[in-house]
Amino acid sequence: MRHSFLLSFALGAGWLLSPEALVIGGNTAGNMGWLAIASLAGAALLLSISGNLLNPSQRAAEHDNNYRLLRYMTGTLPAIGLTLASSIPLVILAATALLVTSGYTFNEVFLYWFPNFGFSFLLLALLTLLQFFPEKIIFRTQICFVLLTAGALLFLALSGIAGTEPPVYEVLEQPGSFSSASSVLMLLLFTGSTSGVKPKHPCLVPIAGLVIFSLWILASLCYVNPERLASSTIPYMTVARTIMGEPGRQIMGVAIISGTCGAITGLMFMCRVMLAEVATVHNGNNLLSATIQRWVFPLLVALATGILMAGGLAGDELLETFLRGALILWLIHHSLLCLSAILTNYRAHQTVPPAGAMTTALFIAAVFILIVTNPQRNEITFFILSMLGTGGLIPAIWIVINKITGTRTTTQQTEKTL
């Protein structure tokens, strides 16, 4: 798979430009003022350091894939459990949440007579259909989604900053208030940003995210008062409307819908990469597992998302709790990957990269802060534990079945040979 610079950005920045990320960014800007930009810069720096730490070109050949790296530290079962738990629930829950948001946006901004629920399902069907096209077409479409979203956001932000009264420097002079709970949320903007990115560009998505979001936060602070930004459930639309009126709403409407498409396609790709890494280690990525990843997986994700939407999860507060839990699971997975990279590095060279160690410690602290400071901490903890349990149970059952039937897996054969 040849990844261009643009494709690396498109695959890594899917979630970053999603409506959910815009809500996190907007609310954090409201809570912290201009300090939100400093927090964003900190998060981008940490992700860049971890991107370098996990760069396959800087690792030993036997740890060339992330799952293998994780397995080195945790063992097979926890590694599979964590890989499954940090990827599949995220793509399903994010798709459910984002499609509902897009449905409302389409209905309220473009066509009042078109049912929002109908649009959500239509978009899900189209995005599922896209997964069955050749990879080249999926990648080109993803580039279009991401560039359209980034372009719309930059256009609105720059138009706003250029025409703002009072001038930007006055906004920057206003005091901001630091909040650890709000600032760690910025890490969640970069969910999935390391997947599909070419080793040559480990800092690409964090830097692009920093530029786009800094401008957007600045424009938001210039036009909408912080209390309103902090409490709004759709801060992006409030800002777009204040900057440019009805045309601003329409531009933001395009950004929300294309951002949803980009996020779902990007997360789907992230999941497929993670599953392929597990498959490569255990059965050499044979035809069956390749078929499952390429054809069955998108169908299962679409089916699960469709069932959750039709079952009314969108109207339940649990969706937000579960989605936050799924995002934290991704951060746990990323933190443990970094820790494992440090351990392998220590084994090989007897040195610990100080920046990498500090970053990993901060990621682990961020996981705790995100859980402890959330009002639904019990539900989130339960969700995380049950996803990890379920993720571990599937391979455990598979191992037991293999033992009972006496079938030797390719892994066992390989390990014996070695």
């Binding site: 949440a97 509902v100 948001t101 449905g103 409302y104 946006t105 209905n107 309220e108 901004v109 049912p115 929002n116 629920f117 109908g118 649009f119 959500s120 399902f121 239509l122 899900l124 069907a125 599922t128 259909l129 069955f132 459930t233 759709i234 639309m237 054809w295 069955v296 169908l299 679409a302 089916l303 469709g306 939407m309 039709a310 999860l313 969108a314 109207g315 339940d316 507060e317 649990l318 969706l319 937000e320």
Partner: protein, 89 residues
């Protein structure tokens, strides 16, 4: 595999069309509601909850959030002769 894909896509498209074939519900127009708002005794209830509510830009000023799933709870707060207007989109 193709049949399975077509089946799933058909299911998703059917779900997309479901709102259009929903049953008849007594409706009130925007203008009728505006006229009733002036009378002051009408209660407007926004029955959306979760992301259905938070994703929407349009919320009627003064509407009370009363999720459809909690009807047993909030229905006790109103008398039977009180005009209630429910909206969900």
């Amino acid at each position: 595999m193709k049949k399975l894909t077509l089946l799933l896509l058909s299911f998703l498209l059917l779900c997309a069309a479901l709102p259009a074939i929903a049953g008849e519900v007594p409706l009130i127009s925007k203008d009728e509601l505006k006229a009733q708002l002036d009378s002051g005794n009408v209660v407007i209830l926004d029955v959306r909850s979760g992301r259905d509510w938070s994703s929407s830009e349009f919320k009627i000023k003064g509407a009370v959030q009363a999720p459809g799933s909690d009807i047993a709870k909030w229905s006790k707060d109103y008398t039977k002769d009180q005009p209630l207007v429910l909206y969900c989109a």
